[in-house]
Amino acid sequence: MIATLGANTVRDITNIGKFSRFFWQAMGASVRSCVKTGTYPLIWAQMNLIGVRSVPIVMVTGAFVGMILAIQAYDQLAGMGLEEHLGVLINISVVKELGPVLAAVMLAGRVGGALTAELGTMRVTEQIDAVRSMGTDPIRHLVVPRVLACLLLTPALIIYADLMGAVGGFFVGVVHLGINSWAYWNFSASGVELWDVSIGVIKGFFFGGAIAVISCYKGFTCREGAHGVGQACTEAFVASFISILALDFSLAVIFKAIYAIFWPLRSLV
């Protein structure tokens, strides 16, 4: 039993080391690629696959988040006579937390799964070895365009989710539940600051980076065969999901501290 525990510990530490190495290689190569125009066509192609094609699913996710929040929160607020504040509750929840997190989870499933499956298949069919055998760094050629596309477009997709969340909340709150439109938007505008929107967008950079690096790593290290690729996809989604939640918590703590430093009195309002 002790031997098994020891072997598992060594294996886990080795895997963390391998992932850290992969992460730094990917980040270093991404920074270098930003100034090399030769990589731009590859990044552009991945932006289309990863970003543009994810717009519909992210918008649908955002709209449903807004609508569900409106339905669930209305009765609570109406009971206190505060139903006109529904807009603040919905919009601040959407832009700060639910929009970024749920959009990122959707991307982890749609984009992360596709990245792992594609790179995993390339690994088991020796295409990654073929890239290496031709004197090309597979991280620069395969990982960097995907990481940069995710980093750049996840925040943009989160803006779409936020927008549709606001529209969904408005539709249910004002059109369906009959809240006064002017009051809905007026309270929303007074309660949601640029800072709140920025937090959600900044989180997108971290979520996008985590999804891309984890998914590419799982693809690069997947085991042989269809089962190996399937297992890598599952592991990539689970790891991305946990990372999104952990990053969300960490960033919430950090942003709260930053807010308290720069605007110490506003938190008392």
Partner: protein, 282 residues
């Protein structure tokens, strides 16, 4: 040590080759795949590595281009040690090599022309006026597939895929071409086409070839020298005639493609499952 063993040993330690493995051992966990292998590949010759499935042939050929790094031992290319180089330095060395993978390893998302252009684009500035169409046409014509420029790998047969992969492997005019099971999975005519291409490239362009195969017909046709691997060690090393007459029974059994007496006994003694043992499905 027998005379045959002595001759094998002399070849192993010949260090004048363009490409050398020196005392290379490769382990995956506790599994020793290559066990203290020393091998020198002569310039301009075709060296064929034979051996049963799972004996470490692919692992060996991947060590020659350092796609795998040895657990111990050294790899040399033109008297320069390369197994300890960083990937960035290795990438420059690898432009001297072409590698034909067992399944071709063509990029699914690129057509034949784009696959061939891939290594060229990675190492040269390609402009519209640089004659890339002509270059692709020439490379495809060399493997008899001119006109297939726009075909994606999924639309090509197994033999065509290997020929496009070969065209890609020679795109950078390499000094050394490594072939991993080039004829596996092909019908005898397509396999012979690949053999002829290997000979054409070796004799026509003077490239050094290393072929890993268990196809003895192919090995006899293309080899200047045959090396047999068995359980991670070199069992025999010599020209085709030498291998044909090698006294080791394991070598003889492999080149003749005969099942061993023990395996035969197991097969004959095992029972045959009757249909009556199973209940039919409803």
């Amino acid at each position: 040590m027998t005379e045959a063993d002595q001759k094998d040993k002399t070849r192993e330690i010949n260090k004048d080759g363009v490409l050398s493995l020196r005392n290379v051992t490769k382990k995956f966990g506790d599994n020793v795949v290559l066990d203290d292998i020393s091998l020198s590949v002569e310039k301009g010759k075709c060296t064929v590595v034979i051996g049963p499935s799972g004996c470490g042939k692919t692992v060996l050929i991947k060590h020659l281009i350092v796609l795998l790094r040895p657990s111990s031992g050294e790899v040399y290319f033109k008297d320069r040690r390369i197994d300890n180089l960083e990937e960035k330095q290795l990438n420059r060395i690898r432009t001297h090599f072409g590698f034909l993978f067992q399944g071709g390893a063509l990029f699914d998302s690129l057509n034949a022309a784009e696959n061939i252009l891939f290594p060229i684009r990675q190492h040269y500035r390609v402009t519209a006026s640089s004659g890339i169409d002509e270059l692709v046409k020439t490379k495809l014509a060399m493997v008899g597939l001119d006109g297939f420029q726009d075909y994606y790998p999924a639309k090509l047969s197994g033999g065509q895929r290997k020929r496009v992969a070969l065209a890609r492997a020679i795109a950078l005019n390499p000094e050394v071409i490594l072939y991993d099971e080039p004829t596996t999975g092909l019908d005898p005519i397509r396999a012979d086409t690949i053999n002829e291409l290997i000979l054409k490239l070796q004799r026509g362009l003077g490239v050094t070839s290393v072929v890993v195969t268990h196809d003895m017909k192919s090995a006899y046709k293309v080899a200047d020298r045959i090396v047999m691997l068995h359980e991670g060690k070199i069992l025999a090393d010599g020209d085709a005639e030498y291998i044909r007459n090698h006294p080791n029974p394991i070598v003889q059994q492999f080149i003749k493609g005969e099942v061993s007496e023990e395996d035969l006994a197991v097969i004959r003694s095992s029972g045959i499952i009757s249909k009556t043992q199973f209940e039919p499905r409803d």
